[in-house]
């Protein structure tokens, strides 16, 4: 028993550094996902071009249907190699998780935009605001607030998914736990510790997002 805890204590700071890598991957992926997901959601809701909407539908179908691990292999060993891009495993992790997250975030945002009642759009137009102004000043401020719980969920999914980047050799928490375990043979203790660290990060992140939501709260948007 004590050997297990000794291994955990000895490897703890090494593992914490790994946890930081996971956080950076997740924040990067959330950013990439939002930057791509928001325009995709806007096109899906407002664009009159059936072609564009179909393209985005296909993107979403692809990245939501393909397993993360396969996608990581496809991009890391396949596509980027093929294109001759020499990207680090870390960068590929951020990009792939970001591309997948874009598919999910576009759907979160699409739902939020559609949940803003049509009357809000009409009222904006009736005042003489242009469609772009109405979306920018009336629809999005409401939709983005409504999307926060969805993001919170997306954060916790991405965080857990970020452990899969271990398969590419990213030196994140999971990889480091395994590394320490293969030296000390205390797998059980180290993996449980890694899992608890993931849970802690999830807890902290969702708490932060909840307090963000409370800060931005407006009466009537309590949910």
């Amino acid at each position: 028993m004590t050997k297990g805890w000794t291994a955990v204590i000895d490897g703890f700071s090494y593992m914490l550094e790994g946890a930081w890598v996971n956080l950076v991957v997740v924040i990067g992926a959330l950013g990439v996902g939002f930057a791509l997901g928001l325009p995709m959601a806007l096109v899906q809701v407002y664009s009159r071009s059936a072609f564009l909407r179909t393209c985005i539908g296909a993107y979403v179908w692809f990245f939501r249907g393909i397993p993360l691990l396969v996608c990581l292999f496809l991009f890391y060993f396949g596509l980027f190699e093929y294109l001759g891009w020499n990207l680090s495993a870390f960068a590929v992790g951020v990009i792939v998780l970001g591309l997948i997250s874009a598919a999910y975030q576009s759907q979160i945002l699409r739902g939020a935009i559609l949940a803003v009642s049509e009357g809000q759009m009409k009222a904006g137009r009736a005042l003489g605001l242009s469609d772009v102004q109405t979306i920018r000043h009336i629809v999005l401020p409401q939709a983005l607030r409504m999307a926060i719980p969805g993001w919170s969920n997306e954060y916790s999914i991405l965080l857990k998914d970020s452990a899969v980047t271990y398969a590419l050799g990213v030196s994140e928490l999971m990889a480091r736990a395994h590394h320490v375990a293969s030296r000390t043979y205390q797998h059980l203790y180290l993996y449980v510790t890694a899992g608890l660290l993931f849970m802690t990060m999830t807890w902290i992140g969702t708490r932060l997002l909840r307090s963000l939501q409370e800060r931005l709260t407006v009466p009537g948007f309590s949910k």
Partner: protein, 224 residues
């Protein structure tokens, strides 16, 4: 020509083998995971104090730990306490526990959304609490939980690929072996990806059909 031979002689048989392993991972995990989720979810709503807390705790852990770590615990961790599992068994155990935890969230939410009057009405005609849950509450709750549980099943199909990480050679694993031998990573993983896409599309069509089949007036709005 050589490409086609490679495809027909090596890629297709290997991927077919892998697909069969994947399916044999998914099917039992799906069934047991759903059953576990219903039990856990019901216990978390109607259970007595300690049972409810215990189940809440279990769910918290299985939803909080990344699935890869859970698989590593089943496969590399448990030998520490004398439990040795094959890669296949360890994978199924991991998938069942994880998806049961997620399913239980949807079941719980659905159960809580059933009006208390339904329980009272069950008691009023002389059903026991267990009978009311079984015959009145669950049939309603399952319909409400179905969209969420359906998503979970689709996640299961995709995350079954993680079995590769603990050396259970399923579709992804066969792909990795093929690609490492031929260096045709892009082609092989694109093919593997498409197989998963087809699988996911097939499962989601089936789930949609099931939802449509089960739909009754008043429960339509729970579809997404």
């Amino acid at each position: 020509m050589e490409e086609i031979r490679y495809l027909v002689d090596e890629v297709l048989p290997a991927l077919w083998r892998g697909l069969l392993v994947s399916v044999s991972l998914i099917v039992p995990s799906l069934v047991l995971g759903l059953a576990g989720g219903i039990l856990l979810g019901t216990a978390r709503v109607y259970g007595t104090g300690w049972l409810r807390r215990l189940c809440d705790g279990i769910v918290l852990v299985f939803r909080g730990f990344p699935l890869v770590i859970q698989l590593y615990i089943w496969y590399f961790g448990l030998p520490r306490i004398g439990v040795y599992l094959s890669p296949y068994t360890a994978s199924v155990c991991g998938f069942v526990c994880c998806s049961a935890a997620y399913h239980s969230e949807y079941i719980r939410g659905a159960l809580l959304s059933i009006r208390p009057g339904q329980m009272l009405a069950g008691h009023a005609i002389g059903l026991t609490a267990f009978q009311t849950i079984r015959h009145v509450i669950l049939p309603q709750a399952v319909r409400r939980a179905l969209p969420g549980c359906g998503n979970e099943i689709i996640y299961l199909v995709k995350y079954s690929s993680l079995a590769y990480m603990i050396t259970c050679i399923e579709l992804t694993g066969e792909g990795k072996i093929l690609a490492s031998a031929s260096f045709k990573y892009f082609e092989v993983f694109l093919t593997v990806g498409i197989v998963y896409l087809l699988l996911v599309t097939l499962v989601s069509r089936a789930l949609e059909a099931l939802e449509t089949h089960l739909v009754i007036p008043g429960f339509e709005r729970y579809r997404t």
